[in-house]
Amino acid sequence: MDRAILYVNPLSFPIAVECRVSTRLTGRPVALAPGGTDRAIIWSASPEAVCAGVEVGMPIYQALRRCPDLVIQPPRYALYARAAVALEGILQPFVPVIEPHTLGHAYGDLTGTRKLFGPATDVAAKIRREIWGRLGLPVTVGLAANKVVSEVAAHVLKPEPVVDVRPGDEPAFLAPHPLAALPGAEPNVRERLARYNVVRIGALAALTRVQVEGVLGRRGAVLHSRACGIDPRPVTPPARRETLRVHASLTVETNDREALVVLLRGLAEEIGRALRRRRATAERLHVRVRYADHRDAAGDEPLEPATDLDGELAAAARRLADRVATRRIALTAVGLTATIGAGSDVQLSLFDPPPPALRRRSLNDAIDRVRRRYGTKSIRYAH
């Protein structure tokens, strides 16, 4: 049985949601960026703003120089998350297996539903109509035999609401598109391939797997398969793991390690407080830093045992930052994401944790009580 995988691609999702909530934004150049500093980075931009030269990842001051009429709004992540859930709710009656991708985007597996819902193309068109009718959000839907081709289809042929790539047509469909359209072909990968004049997906597919591995190493094999339209990855519903995110934009770009440590400590305390409030523990910590040249670096590590202690979270954040922030370029933003453990109970150890860990737990509880009563800034660690 041929697989039928669809990819739902809402166009400029956060901006579309904002425009739906506030109609005055419709048709105007709009960008989303955290407030508080004109060095904050543009997180999302409307097509009108993009036409005016605004780019995602650009600082606000630079975007305003290019587009003085630009309307800048702080992102409302909770709103977009609600919209993404609503969008998934529309997919659910038609699509047995859904795998959310990035915000609002999702893969769906329609394999074996033909007798139930009709041809996959009709289902995709119906989904698109339902999303537009009920949420007012424009989407394109890519349909193919695997994830990578459906995703490329949904992205590259935007005027077409539904694109169906028939089984066997994948290489021919992918070939004329630039490498940037291929999931996994990151800028550094494209840069290396461009040295060999490989700038289109077809050119990459024309090489042998061994040749691509010679340039890109072991990951080259995966990219080569994708360029040939081969992608065996199943559509898998996500494990329901909640995360807590905090981030801060630096008002002054800096690569001062001490300043970074202080900032991380504050973010770790914020995560720790949120965890304790939810009576949960974090089992993995992820750090992302953004450099002044708009490049990101990120890393994560497991927390064993899972913890909600400020000190342990801060220590892990510092270790990660030491590992990921290795370039000698100033930083503009730092973010921490904690993955909440599947079970928030902690198996106590006979030999660990040592007594100081228990004392730190009592200390955290006491600090939380003070802060609840007198405010967050009423008490702080001496750094």
């Binding site: 009576r279 599947a342 079970g343 109970d345 902690v346 198996q347 106590l348 150890s349 006979l350 660990d352």
Partner: protein
């Protein structure tokens, strides 16, 4: 090399060494069994470099010699041969022909020189113990050793040999088992032995046999009859387990082991697959079990119990409790507690045995 052996003797010898031979190895000779024909019989040896087992079986030896042969193939051949004398004849260093009735095999092995030499352990100052006593110690304690590689020292079983007693302790950091048995004579030593070696000892030696136990600098050896087991000792200081054995637990519950285990198994069905979390609430004459697992469901149960102390709610990994209960030798067991975040002890009640046995288990910190 030329000898004749009965199928039963060959199978007995192979069964003794086969468990020490690794199924997969990067060193081909380790898949082989070393056969040495001596005037005392046939010595079969196998090793995975950590544990070595050697045994001697009776045979009619015409010409001495040695060769290594693929263990699995030899076991398969021995199993399929008819019940008749088997004649082994060496042809050169690596080739052996095996004849039994009208069946003939030619097996290609590896030269004896490639087989690793066994550790040198002198048995002149060996401790002596009844194999049954060693079995009892291993059978009640080894299960608690860790199988994770993060703390290699916990992968071993601590064996304390003293002039008046032997003690075995094993822990994975969350639960601990300890057993003392009286002993007489012998010197003092603390050995950390891999559980796999102790299991070999338990498997090889009959309960009524006397086992000699000796150590070299970093190996331990066991000898009884013609059977020898050698193992590498785990080096390093064992955690101070005495320090974590609670002395001030002031709450005690005596429960029926079978009923407790049955209730735990019932609750485990709905418990989290990761933490196996279960909540126990002791008060008055009952213990209430409850499990709540998000995305799955909940369950409750209750058992009569003899409980002394303030009411207590405590969380445990149900698997740890079930495992400990499995090794408790009596129908009733006694739990003692201090607080929800302190170690609980579990001991047999009314055990009529000179040995003393206890287990510890650390609770799960419940966050709701």
């Amino acid at each position: 090399m030329k000898f004749t052996i009965t199928r039963e003797q060959l199978q007995e010898g192979l069964a003794a060494v086969a468990a020490a031979i690794p199924a997969k190895t990067t060193l081909p000779v380790l898949s082989n069994v070393l056969l040495e024909a001596t005037k005392n019989g046939i010595r079969l040896s196998g090793t995975d470099l950590d544990i070595a087992v050697s045994t001697t079986v009776a045979a009619d030896v015409d010409a001495e010699g040695a060769v290594t042969l693929p263990a699995k193939k030899l076991v398969d051949i021995a199993r399929e041969l008819p019940p008749a004398p088997i004649r082994f004849t060496g042809a050169g260093e690596q080739r052996v022909s095996i004849e039994c009735g009208r069946a003939k095999f030619k097996l290609l092995g590896l030269p004896k020189e490639e087989f690793p030499s066994f550790p040198t352990v002198k048995f002149d100052k060996a401790w002596k113990a009844a194999a049954g006593v060693v079995h009892k110690l291993v059978g009640h304690v080894a299960f608690a050793a860790s199988t994770e590689e993060s703390r290699p020292i916990l992968n071993g079983v601590l064996w304390e040999l003293r002039p008046d007693r032997m003690r075995m302790v094993a822990t994975n950091g969350h639960r601990l088992a300890k057993m003392d048995v009286p002993a007489s004579g012998g010197s003092t030593a603390d050995l950390i032995v891999p559980p796999k070696a102790l299991e070999q000892v338990r498997r090889l030696y009959a309960g009524d046999a006397e086992v000699e136990i000796a150590k070299s600098e970093n190996h331990i050896g066991f000898r009884s009859g013609g059977k020898l087991v050698f193992s590498r000792l785990i080096e390093g200081p064992y955690p101070n387990y005495e320090q974590v054995i609670p002395r001030e637990n002031d709450k005690a519950a005596t429960v029926d082991k079978a009923a407790m285990a049955a209730a735990l198994r019932r609750m485990s069905v709905v418990a989290s697959d990761q933490t196996h979390r279960i909540r126990l609430a002791f008060s008055g004459g009952t213990v209430k079990f409850s499990v709540q697992t998000p995305d799955l469901g909940e369950a409750q149960d209750e058992l009569p119990v003899t409980y002394e102390g303030e009411p207590l709610e405590i969380g445990f990994n149900a698997m740890y409790l079930l495992e400990i209960l499995k090794y408790m030798p009596t129908d009733e067991v006694r739990f003692t507690f201090k607080a929800p975040e302190r170690a609980a002890t579990i001991e047999p009640v009314g055990w009529n045995d000179p040995a003393s046995y206890m287990a510890l288990v650390m609770p799960l910190r419940l966050v709701d």
